[in-house]
């Protein structure tokens, strides 16, 4: 579905990515892990076109997308859900969701997708006329994911969906991510909550200093010594 090949990119003159390689299969959940400042978010920004790829290629659905403007990448079915609950606080929940479906052509599609999102996150339906500024952290994250789903994407990239949320809500959101995958979407998830991400994902990549350091099956990564040392605090993880 998504293939990143020798990607080099950065901000201004600062190079962050030094040739990252990644592959995301159709209808899988892939986790991209790494500490602070290793280039996780930069990969996502380069993929969704917010910053340019300096070198290398990004292929989505058999098509080169690394030179397209962001709105055309969204149009091809690749949507990024941003970190930090970036919603439009002065607009209502419904308006935020309608913005998510901005590229849809007809009103019927829009209403169908609204229905779909409310089905995933019933809490948003209860809050649909409220201003987004009044939502709680978990609801904001639901709104962000819901907004990403509004445009009928083939693949969705989540930037730290668990950041600053209570464990119960994280569990709820991760359950929904699994449900989204079961409904036929591909998911790339960038996380610092390594245990949760690896429990959910099929495959994992660990990024370090702008290159993919370790990769492998998520079950295998969970027991990988180097991953454990760097990101799991060195303790043993119990997996049922």
């Amino acid at each position: 579905m998504l293939k990143i090949d020798q990607l080099v990119s950065g901000y201004g003159t600062v190079q962050i990515l030094n040739g990252a390689n990644m592959k995301v299969d159709n209808q899988s959940i892939v986790a991209l892990l790494g500490g602070n400042g290793t280039g996780k978010s930069t990969i996502l920004k380069a993929t969704s076109g917010l910053i340019r790829a300096w070198k290398g290629s990004i292929e989505f659905d058999g098509e080169q997308i690394h030179n397209l403007p962001p709105h055309e990448i969204v149009g091809r079915g690749l949507v990024q859900v941003t970190q930090g609950k970036d919603v439009f606080p002065a607009m209502s929940v419904t308006e935020n969701l309608r913005l998510g479906g901005f590229i849809l052509k007809t009103k019927k599609q829009l209403n169908d997708n609204l229905e779909k999102v409310f089905n995933y996150f019933p809490r948003l339906n209860e809050r649909k006329d409220q201003l987004a500024a009044t939502l709680s952290g978990g609801e904001l994250q639901m709104l962000c994911i819901g907004r990403g789903l509004m445009s009928n994407p083939k693949m969705i990239m989540l930037d730290e969906p668990s950041a600053a949320l209570a464990p119960q809500i994280v569990l709820d959101i991760f359950k929904n991510i699994n449900r989204i995958r079961k409904d036929g979407l591909t998911v790339l998830i960038v996380e610092q909550n390594v245990r949760m991400a690896l429990l959910l994902a099929d495959y994992g990549y660990v990024i370090k200093d702008g290159v993919i350091n370790v990769e492998g099956d998520s079950k295998k990564l969970m027991y990988d010594e180097s991953v454990k040392e760097s990101y799991l605090g060195g303790t043993k993880v119990n997996v049922q």
């Binding site: 201004g12 949507v79 941003t82 439009f88 309608r98 998510g100």
Partner: protein
């Protein structure tokens, strides 16, 4: 001075009300004060105010959408007036309009002129934005980072546009003899009907903009772009196109303002500068970047200016708008509708 006292929002309002009461008392004391003159002051004040409001609306729209203050906005107002006047002169020679609509041909021509100013200034604004302002953002960061360069560019653009207009239309003030019927009597004063027309069309444009921004899909996109370019990109909005649209709409509204003013005053190359400054005062009074605030601020500045020149002294007419701006900045720095934090659209 007032900031150090930490008077708070309530205190601000009380001090401002005291100022307003002193001002009203001063006006009431004037020997010219009577109900008749008050009526005409209100009419003229509102009609001048809506023009300030329309230009301020454009300045606020560009400020919320592009994060820069457009100092060449007065020139779009001036060129809009000339565009309307040019269309008026072209249509004035057409006899068939008079033959087909003998009763209302003046109105029809004028409406066409307004429409011409709106469309041509919209396209001209998009052209200016694409050709002169967009290249300044090429180094990255968009308008937010390139801000200071664009503000300076706005000053330069203002000089260039004035001189281009000077070359095309020469500096002689030109009449705009729209035939809109007989003057009306308001409060003992015979005022051209264009005063009322200005208020109606101006409010119509403002209401249309409100409807456009709040009820249409494109308006939703504009509000999104105004709040955050990055998130707008990620939901699939063509942000560069929308920035052009925002600039174009702001310029089109200024163009309508120019054509509205034309028949009441005159069309002259240097009319943009003072309007820009007063619209700036109106935007500050209403709350910079707030769209309803721009219109309310325009009305406030218009009425204050007209009332002061009527009741206090007519020889310093252009001073009052800035006096009001200074008082508002001193007592209520956020303006009527503004917020401390930048809230978009």
């Amino acid at each position: 001075m007032f900031n150090k006292l930490r008077i708070g929002k309530k205190g601000e309002n009380i001090i401002f009300s005291v100022f307003v009461l002193i001002y009203i008392a001063w006006c009431v004391n004037s020997p010219d004060m009577n109900i008749e003159s008050l009526k005409s002051v209100l009419t003229i004040g509102l009609s001048v105010g809506i023009i300030y409001g329309l230009v301020a609306l454009g300045i606020s729209l560009i400020y919320t959408g592009l994060d820069v203050v457009n100092f060449s906005h007065g020139e779009f107002f001036m060129i809009g007036a000339f565009a309307g006047l040019t269309m008026f002169n072209v249509l004035g020679d057409q006899d068939w309009i008079f033959n087909v609509f003998p009763d209302a041909y003046g109105w029809i021509i004028y409406v066409v002129c307004l429409f011409t100013a709106f469309v041509s200034m919209g396209l001209f604004g998009v052209f200016i934005e694409r050709v002169f302002l967009r290249p300044l953002t090429k180094k990255g960061g968009g308008y937010t980072v390139a801000g200071m360069g664009i503000i300076i560019c706005g000053f330069g653009l203002s000089v260039v546009l004035i001189n281009v207009a000077y070359l095309i239309w020469n500096p002689v003030a030109k009449p705009f003899p729209a035939e809109l019927g007989l003057p009306m009597e308001i409060g003992g004063l015979f005022l051209p009907i264009t005063y009322i027309w200005m208020i109606i069309v101006g409010l119509g444009v403002a209401a249309g903009l409100w409807f456009f921004l709040n009820k249409t899909k494109m308006g939703l996109g504009i509000r999104a772009v105004a709040f955050s370019k990055d998130v707008s990109n990620l939901v699939g909005i063509n942000v560069p196109l929308y920035i052009s649209i925002i600039f174009g709409i702001a310029c089109a509204i200024a163009g309508i303002g120019g054509t509205l003013v034309g028949p009441t005053y005159q069309v002259v190359v240097f009319m943009g500068y003072i309007i820009l400054m007063k619209a700036f005062a109106a935007a500050v009074v209403g709350g910079f970047g707030n769209l309803p605030g721009a219109i309310v601020g325009g009305f406030t500045v218009g009425i204050f200016e007209t009332a002061s020149s009527f009741y206090i002294s007519g020889s310093h007419k252009d001073l009052y708008a800035f006096l009001l701006m200074i008082v508002v900045l001193m007592i209520k720095p956020t303006g009527f509708f503004g917020t401390q934090v930048k809230m978009k659209a």
